[in-house]
Amino acid sequence: MAMLAPTRMSRPDLTFVADWWRTIDRPIVILAGLLMTLGLVFSFASSGAATGRLGFSNEYFFVLRQAMFVVVGACVVVALSFLSPTGARRAAAIFYLMALVLMAYIFMFGHEAKGAQRWLRIGGFSFQPSELLKPALIVLAAWLFSKRMESPSFPAARIGMAMYLIPVAMLIAQPDIGQTGLLTIAFLTVFMISGMSWVWIAAFGGAAIVGGSILFFAFEHVQKRITGFLNPEAGETYQTDRALDAIAAGDFLGRGPGEGEIKHFLPDAHTDFIYSVAAEEFGLLASVGLVVLFCALVVRGLMIANRQSDNFTQLAATGLFALIGYQAAINLAVNLNLMPAKGMTLPFISYGGSSILGSAVTIGLALALTRKRPGQDLRNGKAQGWVGW
């Protein structure tokens, strides 16, 4: 890293793209690209099953659409990763406002799917603005808390709470309890990492527990899922039972591509339960492999975040990678029947334009924030960071 400046001079023909490739964190790019490609591969397995269940005539419907989403998502990752940290912050502010306006619009004239108003219809596509909101809020929260670290009088907590509570109120109204929970723990993570005192953390944690209990009693479908999860005899476990059957049927190497059988009876096979479909056809290779890939992505992300000398970029990158990590972990835990069903997609892998776009924006912003910059990893003249790759 110290050789950075001489290297730059020794290569006079550096183009814009080469410069990008040299400064970007390549392991993250490769891991994200791999995950998105796997998502496309798994969509071949899930598309036929899902179209069959939904009565669509074209069994490759979801493959074609997913391919389109992946291409768009890849472009979004690359485009965003060109931004400077300030540019990323501004982009986040714009995304945040856009998502808020769209969520308010849905709140008033939303399109209802499966008992929840989360979707905005544009042409033949549905869009879920909360996917855009999550990374944007994390970056803005990181900026607020980093400001506070520089000048303690900055009312970061109050502004941050307002920025968090407005979208959360709308998410609860939709109702989208899964996203609310995810947003809350990711926000809390940024809060904690920034060095907030344990008193604050305890207060927030307490509020989350109280809020969670209220939601449990206020929303019938959440209650049903949790009680169904706690005592399976009460019913309502059809979906998770099929998911477990699928994973169990996978064994070591799976039934083989396209040979899945239980996937045909698995509701939301192409979205929330794509992991189980992959496990049925590719066995432990997919089920453990995916967990390892996500773990690598998150840990690598946290490592490069920790190397940042700037409080804002470190906090924001940490928050963004944690966001992906939490979402992946929750989705996997639901598939593995360690948690009640949440309605949460697997980042990069699950079918859906909003989900892919959300993952792409998250990783694109994180890449932008962690690009190698002169002096980026120096604090007081000393190299920072705890591990290399």
Binding site: R148, G195, E261, S287, C295, L302, M303
Partner: protein, 580 residues
């Protein structure tokens, strides 16, 4: 105040930066802790994936069967308003095979054919020798069949419990009740519309529909009889409680049997009551007259010039059976004058016609809870000419249910009530919106009664039950404009006229005249007689007392079969010619 006196500029205070101080270190440390937590969490998930993947037992065939079978559910029953059972759930046994455990596919196939002779041996052998671990042989066996298969003692044949939905009354109200997909979800009708409520509700509490199956039976018999006699393409008949909006009977011909959803053609599945749209023709004239009366631009005694066809823009509006004279409002309805109706519509104006039709629920899907619920086809612009044709029911196509709802509104004192297929709780007030005044409503019912006593609706009268209503014979739009050989014949009415309680709408799509109808298939012959029979047969069941004079009571007229004995339902050739 004391702060201000501090010599602030002279002393360089060490800036306390507690967050930065602890901050960097804390951030690094906490991020590392987070990374460790993620590694631990993902590690646990991996272990769990291995545990499930390698150690969860899978009987492949049983797993697949469990997945494919409709789980025995506590789906709620459906009953009619009197508690008559319409749909109930049983647990049935379905037969599947695990081809891997079949010894000899040929032997097993032959054995199975002794129980199910209708099965094809070749395709059975093919199924039983497939590479799959699970194939269905037959869904939902009778207990006798199950025992017989059991006694075959063939390895690889297994049973699984499945939910089975039974509709004991067959095709009666089939379109309203709907049917089920083998996977346990509703395909159409109430089964589809209330799928969530039926599966997730109390489970044991039956859902009580508004239908009265005794009336439904009468209505279906009459509809089938008329539709067959007139060789109609389709038919629809409704009875609606005008005061509550409850659908008492709703029949669509051809019928469908919900017990065999796979055997019903799309034509049979179509619910013509709510999902088909027709240009209704003259039954709409009642609504136009209602606006005129309500806005006080006419009275029942007003007269209009119907001596010559009328021109609006490029369109010429004439009467089917021209009276060629000055006509009263009563005659406009009784003799179904288009010219007179258009004159009323013009005097109230196109915006008012549009607004009133909208208040009557004619501009929206009116199918109650059902999802087979077509939106009306409306004029793109409400110009003078489109409002004029809409005033006598052309250029606007609505479902028969929408007509029933609108007739209820104009005859029940002026309250529009959204039709419903669910029985109402009598203690809960009915939500409604006012469309006309009670006085206008009363006048309108009198005018409709005149149509039945003196006009085109004579054949609809049911002795003692004071039917009031309006005929409608509309030509269907074809590729070359309206086709005089393809008609929709309907009658919409209410009874008893002294205090309208029930609305009846009866419609035949493309009826064809036959010998006994005098060769004609207009509303007066194809729809009105059936309405008469439906009312005279169902009114006693509905508790409507007939009004009869003492003289009539002294001389019983043998009303055992009022339809057949009613002289007016056998038209002469001469009468047939004069039917508008």
């Amino acid at each position: 105040m004391t702060d201000l006196r501090q010599p602030e500029a002279t002393v360089e205070w060490p800036r306390p930066t507690p967050r930065d101080q602890g901050g960097v270190g804390t951030m690094k440390g906490r991020t590392i802790a987070l990374a460790v937590a993620f590694i631990a969490g993902f590690g646990l998930l991996s272990l769990r994936a291995i545990q499930i993947g390698l150690f969860r037992p899978v009987d492949e065939a049983a797993t697949a069967a469990r997945a494919a079978a409709a789980p025995p559910s506590k789906r709620a029953d459906l009953v009619d308003r009197n508690g008559q059972l319409l749909a109930t759930s049983l647990v049935a046994h379905s037969l599947y095979a695990d081809p891997k455990r079949i010894w000899d596919p040929v032997e097993t196939a032959k054995a199975l054919r002794t129980v199910f002779p209708e099965m094809d041996e070749a395709s059975l052998i093919e199924k039983l020798s497939s590479r799959s671990r699970f194939v269905w042989i037959k869904r939902r066996l009778t207990p006798k069949q199950k025992q017989a298969v059991w006694e075959l003692a063939q390895p690889g044949l297994e049973f699984i419990e499945e939910a089975e939905r039974i509709y004991p009354l067959g095709h009666l109200a089939g379109h309203v009740i709907g049917s089920m997909h083998p996977d346990g979800s509703g395909i159409n009708g109430i089964e589809r519309a209330l799928n969530d409520r039926l599966t997730t509700g109390a489970g044991t509490e039956p859902v009580r529909l508004s239908l009265d199956m005794r009336v439904q039976y009468l209505v279906e018999t009459e509809l089938a009889q008329a539709a067959t006699a007139f060789r109609a393409e389709g038919g629809a008949a409704i009875m609606l409680d005008a005061k509550t909006g409850e659908v008492i009977a709703s029949a669509s011909w051809p019928f469908m049997d919900p017990n065999r959803p796979e055997a019903n053609t799309p034509n049979q599945q179509n619910n013509r009551v709510t999902n088909s749209r027709f240009e209704m023709g003259s039954t709409f004239k009642v609504f136009t007259v209602a606006i005129g009366l309500e806005d006080r631009v006419i009275t029942p005694e007003s007269v209009f010039d119907a001596r010559a066809p009328m021109r609006i823009g490029r369109e010429l509006i004439s009467d089917f059976h021209a009276m060629n004279k000055i006509v009263s409002v009563s005659e406009i309805l009784a003799h179904s004058s288009n010219i007179g109706t258009v004159r009323i519509a013009r005097s109230v104006g196109a915006p008012r016609v549009r607004e009133f039709f909208s208040r009557l629920g004619l501009m929206e899907a009116a199918g109650g809870e059902l999802l087979e619920n077509a939106r009306p086809i409306l004029p793109k612009r409400w110009s003078e000419i489109t409002a004029a044709t809409a005033s006598f029911g052309h250029g606007i196509a609505v479902s028969p249910m929408a007509v029933a709802g609108a007739y209820a509104a104009v005859s029940n004192g002026g309250h529009y009530i959204r039709p419903t297929f669910i029985a109402r709780d009598p203690t809960v007030p009915v939500a409604s919106r006012n469309v006309i005044s009670p006085a206008t409503s009363t006048t309108l019912v009198k005018l409709m009664r005149d149509v039945v006593t003196n006009g085109t609706g004579k054949n609809a009268d049911a002795e003692g039950y004071e039917v009031a209503g309006k005929t409608g014979t509309a030509e269907k739009a074809g590729p070359n404009g309206y086709d005089s050989n393809r008609r929709v014949s309907s009658f919409a009415g209410v009874f008893p006229a002294r205090d309208p309680r029930y609305v009846v709408v009866f419609l035949l799509d493309e009826p064809k005249g036959y010998a006994q109808s005098g060769g004609v298939a207009t509303a007066a012959y194809a729809a009105a007689p059936s309405v008469s029979r439906i009312i005279s047969r169902s009114a006693p069941l509905l508790g409507i007392a007939p009004t009869r004079t003492l003289a009539q009571m002294d001389a019983p007229t043998g009303r055992a079969d009022p339809g057949a004995s009613s002289p007016s339902s056998r038209p002469s050739q001469k009468a047939a010619q004069g039917e508008p």
